[in-house]
């Protein structure tokens, strides 16, 4: 690991200021992507700005028709929260499928979203529920947030503080894990909120998380697995590696989407 200086701000303002001022500074949330990357010397930030002491970044609550989750809330809290389970159970389900129990004790929703790993689970939930990412500067709709592999709309000194999820009528997440890493080889999140239907896919896209509009259109007619019968996505634009060819990933999207819709309608 390369040497660095650590900082432990207590307010978002301090954290943002450190992030803006210091060259090659990185935020440290749960650390479950960043620390292994630093250990392998694949990342070498000069400054680490640890968010664990920053006030007001954790917690789960319903605000009107929206579920609001603090950015530093660990996966285990989301997976086991009575509030999440009551209002958006599919999100609790998703959080419970990330990594393993020890990882879920440390990993955070904000860290996962800001990192935007193309195989991470949360991006599918955030996009699949049409969430809003709230930062120290602004509110960013999910559709505008994810910008490709490990790229987001976040600016250099911008910090996610909360994620706001609209309550939906129906939702489900089905994950096909990469057998080695347990990240999503393909994960499909579907939701229905009135006429707003979303099908978001992680793991499969060569450019990160994306929505399958053809599936969404089909589901608008009738929200049931039969509506997706025989439907696939083209293999073009899918990621391809030893764990899954583009064709296999494209095929799995169809299978998992049908299973997710079936689970959502119960």
């Amino acid at each position: 690991m390369y040497a660095f200086t650590q900082h432990r701000p207590t307010t978002v303002r301090q954290a943002a200021s450190l992030l803006g001022k210091q060259e090659e500074a990185k935020l440290l949330a749960g650390g479950h992507t960043l620390i292994p990357t630093m250990k392998l010397r694949l990342a070498g930030p000069k400054h680490l700005v640890d968010l664990s002491k920053v006030e007001g970044l954790t917690g789960i609550e319903m605000k009107g028709r929206s579920l609001v989750i603090g950015a530093m809330t660990p996966h285990v809290e989301v997976a086991t929260s009575a509030v999440v389970k009551e209002n958006i159970p599919a999100l609790a389900e998703l959080a419970g499928k990330i990594g393993d129990p020890a990882v879920r004790h440390r990993g955070t929703i904000g860290g996962s979203i800001a990192n935007n790993d193309p195989n991470a689970d949360y991006p599918a939930g955030v996009l699949g529920l049409g969430a809003t990412i709230i930062t120290n500067k602004r509110r960013i709709p999910a559709d505008e947030f994810f910008k490709g592999l490990f790229e987001t709309a976040l600016e250099g000194d911008e910090i996610i503080t909360k994620v706001q999820f609209p309550k939906v009528n129906k939702a489900a997440y089905v994950k096909f894990p990469n057998p080695a890493s347990r990240y999503a080889l393909v994960g499909v999140f579907v939701s229905k909120r009135g006429s707003d239907i979303r099908v978001a896919v992680t793991g499969a896209g060569a450019n990160g998380v994306f929505r399958v509009t053809a599936f969404e259109e089909a589901l608008k007619k009738r929200f049931g697995p039969k509506s997706l019968e025989g439907m696939t996505v083209p293999a073009d634009g899918m990621a391809s590696d030893i764990h899954g060819s583009a064709e296999y990933r494209a095929h799995l999207i169809g299978v998992l989407a049908r299973r997710a819709v079936a689970a959502a309608v119960g």
């Binding site: 040497a3 250990k39 129990p101 004790h105």
Partner: protein, 163 residues
Amino acid sequence: MSAVALTVNGKAVTADVDPRTLLVQFLRENLRLTGTHVGCDTSQCGACVVHVDGKAVKSCTAFVWQLEGANVLTIEGLADPNGPLHPMQEAFREHHGLQCGYCTPGMIMTAVDMVNRKGHDLDDPTIRHELEGNLCRCTGYHNIVKAIAAGAKAMEKGHAHKT
């Protein structure tokens, strides 16, 4: 260097460490608590699992300065050195849940955390699912699963234990 103060196995410890020091390095190198092992570099094998404030954590994936003030429990602190074994330790021995012993401390700490979260009546699929973050190359998991189910029940019977 950065100063850290935390509690490990019930004892207050302080040290001045390089900021790069991971919890596992601090335990093994500074405190010479070598029961916590390192088996990988991608946070997957679970040989390094300890409890931080009562929760299972991979000690290879946390800087020790992040844990200022925390309460850390390692395999060495699970049972009183002069008292009986923790029921989960005893169950691993009784059910032959270990062979080379290298993954064992992480397995036992994971198992105790599992019981803390999931209760004492653990079925086979639950245990196997919960072991997602712990690799064993020797046992084929068969006896680890048996040991955890039995250890979970034994913990319920009110044996003296710390977590």
